[in-house]
Point group: C2
Chain length 624, copies 2
Amino acid sequence: MRTDLLDKISGPQDVKHLTPQELVELCKEIRTAFVAFGKEHGGHIGSNLGLVEASVALHYVFDSPQDKIIFDVSHQAYAHKMLTGRADAFTKAEQFGTVTGFTNPAESEHDQFVLGHTGTAISLACGMAQARNLAHEHGQTTDVNNVVAIIGDGALSSAVAFEGLNNAGCQQGNLIIVLNDNEMSIAENHGGMYGTLAKMRESGGSYQPNLFEAFGLDYRYVEGGNDVNALVKAFQDVKNSEQPIVVHIHTTKGLGMDAQDAEHGVREGHCERNHWQDPLRDEGKPLGARKYYGQKVMDHIRARLVGEPNVVVISPATPGSNGIVPEFRKAAGSHYVDTGITEEHAVSYASGLAKAGCRPVVATSATFFQRTFDQLQQEVSLNGQPVTLLSFGGGMTGADNTHSGAFDIAMFGNIPGLTCLAPTSASMLLDMVDWSTSLENTKPVVIRVPGNAVLQADRGGLDETPVNVQAALHARIEGHGQPWSRYVTRQHGSQVALIGLGDAHVWAGEVVDALAELDEPIHASWINPLQFSSLDESTLRALIQNHSLVVTLEDGQLEGGWGEKITAFYQNELPGMPMHVLNFGLAKAFTDRVPVDEQRKDNHMTTQDIVNAICCYLSGETRA
Amino acid sequence: MRTDLLDKISGPQDVKHLTPQELVELCKEIRTAFVAFGKEHGGHIGSNLGLVEASVALHYVFDSPQDKIIFDVSHQAYAHKMLTGRADAFTKAEQFGTVTGFTNPAESEHDQFVLGHTGTAISLACGMAQARNLAHEHGQTTDVNNVVAIIGDGALSSAVAFEGLNNAGCQQGNLIIVLNDNEMSIAENHGGMYGTLAKMRESGGSYQPNLFEAFGLDYRYVEGGNDVNALVKAFQDVKNSEQPIVVHIHTTKGLGMDAQDAEHGVREGHCERNHWQDPLRDEGKPLGARKYYGQKVMDHIRARLVGEPNVVVISPATPGSNGIVPEFRKAAGSHYVDTGITEEHAVSYASGLAKAGCRPVVATSATFFQRTFDQLQQEVSLNGQPVTLLSFGGGMTGADNTHSGAFDIAMFGNIPGLTCLAPTSASMLLDMVDWSTSLENTKPVVIRVPGNAVLQADRGGLDETPVNVQAALHARIEGHGQPWSRYVTRQHGSQVALIGLGDAHVWAGEVVDALAELDEPIHASWINPLQFSSLDESTLRALIQNHSLVVTLEDGQLEGGWGEKITAFYQNELPGMPMHVLNFGLAKAFTDRVPVDEQRKDNHMTTQDIVNAICCYLSGETRA
């Protein structure tokens, strides 16, 4: 792999002296490096391959960091990273992983924000540009000159991007919005504006209605989005422009893949394969929890679509990573709706479907449900609509800091009227989906797709929580309105009770085993709460009889979470009773790609930590 | 006031038989009734006056409830309510207040949803229409025929509305989006698309770029938005249309006010006066907490704008209700930005401003900050940008169920890296704003504007928490990074410590007083926590010395809130210590216009309730 030119680029200043032909060569080197990197390491390769030329042209024309370049979502910033002193992380295998997959100001002064959710770049750019305007107004200097936002056509469908366009359309001063139009969102584009974008491309930018002019913005079209010198020309023309402008560039996602990639990649219509992150690396590996459980649910639902017009699966543009495979989507027909990257619409839309008698399932990541927190509360829960939210990647994972699932219990669990379920096996997951999408259920439900600890237990043949769900369902519906309102005790013991939620249910079992193996064995109870929207007060009260310590264990943030509610229950409802509660879970903090085992260590919640804490408490109690 | 025709309308069927002239007369009667109602009772009169004819025409043409009519935000549904059996609530003074200000399925089968936040009607309508499509596809009957969403030009700026338009633009089957364009948002319109809407109006709908056609939608313009027979014609033309269409109607907000109203209302450019809710009723009354404290903050900030280019106030279209008066806005110039109804953009935009060195203040309601939960977490907190969120109407209020502030502690308080302050006096509020918008502060801060309990104490001359903030600020910045990380003990006592947050700080003081007046007086400690983002562990540990009971009191939902964290602190950090904690706050539930006193009773948190609980606990402790 040749990296002659690349080796000479230590920062943007080294790009500026290249000849037009050298710019072309540099792009080739970068593209070749990405393909090799993608095969070995994985990553969002498709979008980065499309943006090679634009990144080079941006750094050739603009003067970062005085000119601010803001990448929306920022997973398409690999070339930008290579041009700003971080090429080794993509060209040298031993340095793969030394930079994040997103922009990060801690890595470089050329990165403005840590971004991993879509659509905010225009708003952020408006803000930086307005700060410059204010300084100028006061006759003060500022380190902000041009402000450039780069946003993809897929990300453009997300709500906040439109709010940003609308405000950019009435803002004064320099602001350059580069629309990276690769004709393709994560899976495919959905929405009426994509027809308009296509006609704008076909007409070379002259088509009316022009989406951006409708927002009051100036507009320029560049067909050669992978022609570095055409881009240089276009960017030079708009540099220092004195009012906001959209530069619409037409790029090709995945450009430069070889035949081997193409089999797996964008050209064969499989572009989403987890955003074409891992074209080859994961071949043959067993599926992770997200895709495994997602496929299970979709297979299960698929059988019902023939006779049940009311079952609808909605994906806000993330089908692939959640096991909603192309075969399912094809078979489901109108029962599957990809709304584009539009969590707010997806959840409101589901509420509308439910109001009209359907039982919709909205499937996306816990971290993306954050986008629609208000609609979860208002359109769904306040209105009591039987929408099922299938939440992926919640709890403790090794995710980067923009995709953490650790906040999901606090987000969902404190919304009135929302039943929050945490299944701990595939069969329980399917039972819960069956119930929540049945006409028997009339209220909103979130189901937290299990994580890898549960999956490992499932695969290892661990006995699942022995609950006859169908019987429980019918017995409990009569009494409680939802079948998972009671905890299930998997092992009856005494003295200490361990209650573990989600993946932490498995870990709680390991603590129970470890306690039984102590020199002075403790035969603890092991309880599966199944849900985190209400407490099973009856079970908690009964523990008083022969337990003095309850230990809660959850795979998410403690503050605002679930375990501390149990602590408060005993203190407030049974103030005279000698029950003590210890809570284990995550500290309130952002973590960035920290493996789960390490997070457990950092938060003093390994099996040994918990056994120690229990013994310590009990010995103190004995002494007292 | 004549109500001859209105008296004969018991439901939509009675509208359908009227002659064109009678339709005109009916509109006159409704308009007259609104003006009288508004003067006596208050309400969102301006938008309702503009929509009288459209409401009558909708019920003349469409067949509710088989045709579904969905009002966005739904505070413009008064005429709809009058036409669907609820006229007395607007014409008979003794029945004012018997219906809510929003649509409500519990009131009528003609109301589809409870809605109070903007922009979701298009998505909800897409969902109901798609449910109908699916039933048809399966050859099944459905009770959904036409689906009609009515959305104002102001609401159209909110993110989710664009997501909805984009999806409507590629959906099949009947779906009618009525754009109620009164040229006016709550205060005034902001954003590039409003220039386009103006040109579309001026051209009679022929102007290009056409905003709605850009989203792939059919389009029709009706200039006579207050001409009931013109509207009847337009709606008849689009009824049963087989693909989505936007009907853009040009209406006049506040049409029909008399001279007395006009002095106070929309024609004089004061249309926002709390959405022109209470044109006369509140004249001369003292300001409530929102406007009182909002004005205090703005007056305070105003003095700094001359010399500090970095201070910016951002309002997502709700200046009036938060004390951001026209005089301030005028004086602030570019330092005040109304972004339109765009909470997500407003918060991302603030992050951009902060990144470029500014200290922006985003001022809106707690309930509207829900819309931007994800940006609060990602763009602001994860990125550590020094944005100040000035949150109004948080905590316990008598608000309707769509505007409750009771969830704010759980929403803000569990986000990593976000400092959450709860001042308990005007001077403390200003100190906190001073600090958070100073260059000394480098992190995001939410400041919860106090509620009416604090305001009453402020006005009553109650000694405020005796903290020398300036001294504390400088002393503490060095040690802790933020000056309000330590609790302030207002009264040192023993045995029992009361810690009350926000308005509940005042209530905690009342409990302390009541305990001192018991036959066997208890001299309790009274502590002001000042904030809810972290615990002052040092103060909590010190209480162990001479207290056995800590009582927390908060003016919001207990679950996910603040007090239960203190309970968990003692159980986990000081497990061997005999400290008990009782928590008082709200149950996890939606409430609808329940007065604060009643909420305190319902949640067993009146002064007497708390005194009783304390005595009960202490007597049990004595017995044990």
